[in-house]
């Protein structure tokens, strides 16, 4: 066995803490080591070339690279080794950067640790076996979960590249939060003018199958072939027959009496409804919690919607439907929820009707909102408006340490819109720090200040009512003095939270989440749209708070990764799976119950267990449990692990 060992300096990232010369000198004398070299950047071209040419000249058969985390560059070095004609699994890495030089200060002890990690890698490398990967066929379809701007953009990009997309949206219409806005910062484009054409494109696209009012129920399988089950709730309206004319809604006995969820209860609708006039698909839905026919089994003599619909589209017998299909890749674009303002009781959101959240105020600006776009709030035109920033953001008391990234700017936008509509209204913004980081944002903020909006640094402490008016108590942290402002309207700049549905999606797809509970990307800088699960990508606010331009950019990125994957007919599956040694297997079937993927099947005739290569994911749980030690876990065999262990002790 000839092992080549390569120690990386990583510039000074490793070499400033670990004495590389010492490591090289020690490792040279370790059994099986034929070559030991060091280099500034092993991952660079010359670094990789060095390994490749040594494999040829010295006839090396195993390679150890001591550098950064294998989670970073194992694929790079596997490719290099394979270029040189060696099996890619004949490589082992020692993590002497993330788990050594970056976390230790004592140079002597860090060097000692690096040496033992490299020895341990050499010991494992000496026992490594070449492995052959199996080819998995790729299903050339994609699933996009969530039909906000991010999901819409990803779906369109993938569909335009010629692949079929299933777009699943929980609500009756796609559009997400953007559909609720009138104008968007910082350019003040009309949200509907830029969003609705995309929504229509989705509906018309021959490659997109749109499943609204639906949720993903189950996902099995893995990259290249996920099997998906979607549950579509009954609308009690035949989608084919409904033309979206709206006769039913006007006729409904409860017309104008049911709070509209889309308007956060600020407007009223019928029991049969479309959330907003530009909804896609423009098909009516019966609210099962409100409709008299559904809740009581009786609506007058006969339901008036049925009478009003000349297409006969109303169908109270409709049941939920299940759709099953296969896809090669998944984009998660489930967006966000607004922070629940009642978690900050001092701002009186629950007590005062003139305390609104940012999203609620958005609806007042909208021409299809509760007041048709007029700033007429609870019957009055506000003469003094106070914005309170960072409600539920940068606030550890409510468990959200992060900045929601859009509130400073949506407050600036809303302050501008108020000034535009009501120039004589006083507008005060109580801010913590102003974060206007995007393109054109600082300029927009300046413009809003020039329009006469008062910005006062320091957050609000309390909102209370006296003589029928709201008062906001705050401290000006620049002047260092407390002050109060009277207001007709208080707007809470509520932050962004992961949607409640994130839990279900996370467990279905085995996705990790960061401490803020948004989905975790595979690498914070280099793989911002990937997840650690192959074939699953992230777009938009599902990954963390962001504005529309960033959501769209990330959605395009996710789509390009999906297309990249779908353009292949086969992908290589890691051969790191469990293997049964049939001679040793006594047929006790202990392993069978442990496998979460049902990869084990008992061969009754021969009395031995078998493992399905395509189903095994390589956790090694069965190998650990096998009482006769007859299951061997490729690349993580007992003897390999123990060899590593003996070297570090």
């Amino acid at each position: 066995m000839k092992v080549g060992v390569y120690i990386c300096h990583c510039g000074v990232n490793i070499s400033s803490t670990v004495n590389i010369d010492n490591v090289v000198e020690t490792i040279k004398n370790v059994a099986n080591v034929a070559v030991c070299k060091d280099y500034q950047y092993m991952c660079s071209d010359p670094g990789q070339e060095m390994i490749k040419s040594d494999i040829a000249t010295h006839g090396l058969d195993r390679i150890v690279v001591a550098a950064c985390s294998p989670r970073m560059h194992e694929p790079t070095f596997r490719a290099a080794v394979s270029d040189a004609g060696l099996n890619p699994y004949c490589l082992e890495m020692a993590n002497i950067r993330e788990q050594c030089s970056w976390v230790h200060e004592d140079k002597e002890r860090a060097t000692e640790k690096a040496i033992s990690l490299v020895k341990s890698a050499v010991a494992k490398a000496s026992l490594l076996e070449p492995l052959e990967s199996t080819k998995i066929p790729v299903t050339h379809n994609a699933l996009v979960i969530g039909g906000g701007i991010a999901g819409i953009q990803s779906a369109l990009d993938i569909a335009n590249s010629g692949y079929k997309v299933y777009l699943v949206e929980r609500e009756p219409s796609i559009g997400g939060h953007m559909a609720k806005f009138d104008k968007t910062f910082p350019t003040l484009d009309c949200a509907a003018c830029i969003l609705t054409p995309k929504m229509v494109d989705v509906a018309r696209h021959p490659n997109i199958e749109l499943l609204t009012y639906s949720e993903v129920e189950r996902i099995d399988g893995s990259v290249g072939s996920f099997h998906v089950t979607v549950r579509e709730r009954p609308r009690y309206v035949d989608m084919e027959a409904c033309t979206g004319c709206g006769q039913c809604a006007s006729a409904c006995r409860l017309a104008g009496r049911i709070p509209s969820d889309f308007d956060y209860g600020l407007a009223k609708r019928s029991a049969i409804y479309v959330p907003f006039p530009q909804a896609v698909p423009l098909k009516y839905t019966i609210d099962p919690d409100r409709c008299l026919m559904i809740t009581r089994g009786k609506c007058g003599k006969s339901p008036s919607c049925v009478e009003a619909c000349d297409r006969g589209a109303i169908d109270f017998e409709q049941a939920e439907r299940f759709h099953e299909f296969d896809v090669g890749a998944v984009v998660v674009a489930t967006g966000y929820n607004e922070f629940q303002a009642k978690q900050r009781p001092e701002f009186g959101y629950d007590r005062f009707e003139n305390v609104l959240t940012g999203l609620e105020l958005e609806r007042y600006f909208s021409p299809n909102g509760p007041t048709g776009g007029k700033l007429f709030i609870n019957g009055k035109v506000p003469r003094s408006v106070v914005f309170v920033s960072c409600v539920g953001s940068r606030d550890k008391r409510v468990g959200n340490a992060y900045c929601s990234r859009v509130c400073c700017m949506y407050i600036a936008k809303q302050a501008h819109l108020i000034k535009e509509k009501l120039p004589d209204t006083d507008v005060t913004v109580m801010y913590t720090d102003m974060r206007a980081f995007g393109k054109g944002y600082e300029e927009f903020y300046e413009r809003v200040q020039k329009e006469g909006v008062h910005y006062r640094r320091g957050n609000a402490a309390e909102v209370y009512e006296e003589d029928g008016r709201l008062h906001v108590r705050a401290e000006d942290t620049l002047l260092g003095e407390p002050y109060e402002v009277e207001a007709d309207l208080v707007v809470l700049g509520a932050g962004l939270r992961p949607p409640s549905s994130a839990d279900g999606i996370a467990s279905m797809l085995h996705l990790s989440r960061s401490s803020d509970k948004f989905f975790l990307e595979a690498h914070p800088k280099l793989r911002p749209v990937d997840t650690v699960i192959d074939g699953v990508f992230l777009a938009g606010c599902a990954q963390g708070p962001k504005d529309i331009p960033d959501s769209v950019a990330q959605a395009c990125g996710a789509a390009s990764h999906v297309v990249n994957l779908l353009s292949k007919d086969y992908i290589d599956a890691e051969p790191i799976i469990a293997i049964v040694n049939e001679d040793g297997c006594v047929g006790c079937r202990t392993c069978e119950q442990l496998c979460p993927y049902e990869a084990h099947a008992f061969d009754e005739k021969r009395g031995v267990m078998t493992i399905n290569k395509a189903l095994c994911k390589g956790c090694g749980s069965c190998a650990a449990a096998c009482p006769s030690g007859s299951i061997s876990m490729n690349h993580f065999r007992n003897d390999q692990i123990v060899a590593q262990l003996l070297e570090v002790l």
Binding site: S69, P70, R71, M72, N95, R97, E98, Q99, C100, W102, V103, H104, E105, D106, R109, A110, E112, K113, S116, L117, S120, A506, S507, H510, S512, R513, S514, S515, L520, V532, I533, I576, L594, P596, Y597, K617, G618, C619, G620, S621, A623, A624, A625, G629, S632, M633, F636, R637, N638, D639, I641, V642, A643, Q644, L645, L646, V648, L649
Partner: protein, 146 residues
């Protein structure tokens, strides 16, 4: 050698998806901790069995650390539940063998919890330093059958 200056030898078996990534995160964020830990990467914490852990104690480990994903987050659905069961049983066995069960520590560390990883390494090292060397200290040498 021990007599000169003893410092705990700790072996860590970390699952690739959460705890190993959390340890990487500690590195990326430059969160310092004592260099006693030697990490061995496995795909899932459930890959580790009793023999490996006992082997570590027999060959001189003063502590063994097992790091997996938080309940519900295991990359392989429920591997970490099996790990928990195995470790609980093994802790009892260790006590019978005269090894303080605190020498075997199981923690759930997510890929984002660099800080938790670094704090855990600090507290584990401190705790073992207080306890002193593993009483079962034999030097191994026998090889392990595949």
């Amino acid at each position: 050698m021990e007599k000169q200056q003893w410092t705990p030898k700790i072996v860590g078996f970390l699952c690739n998806w959460c705890c190993y990534a959390g340890a990487d995160m500690a590195g990326t964020s430059r969160m310092k901790y004592p260099p006693n830990i030697r990490i061995i990467r496995v795909m899932c914490s459930s890959r580790i069995n009793a023999e490996m852990i006992l082997k570590a104690f027999q060959t001189g480990a003063d502590a063994v650390f097992i790091g997996g994903c938080h309940p519900g987050d295991c990359h392989y659905v429920d591997g970490n539940y099996r790990t928990k069961k195995r470790i609980d049983v093994l802790k009892r066995l260790l006590s019978h063998m005269g090894i303080d069960e605190r020498r075997l520590r199981l923690e759930w560390v997510s890929a984002a919890e660099g800080e938790k990883f670094s704090q855990t390494m600090q507290s584990l090292t401190d705790e073992i330093e207080q306890m002193g060397p593993n009483p079962l200290h034999l030097t191994g040498g026998e090889t392990y059958e595949r």
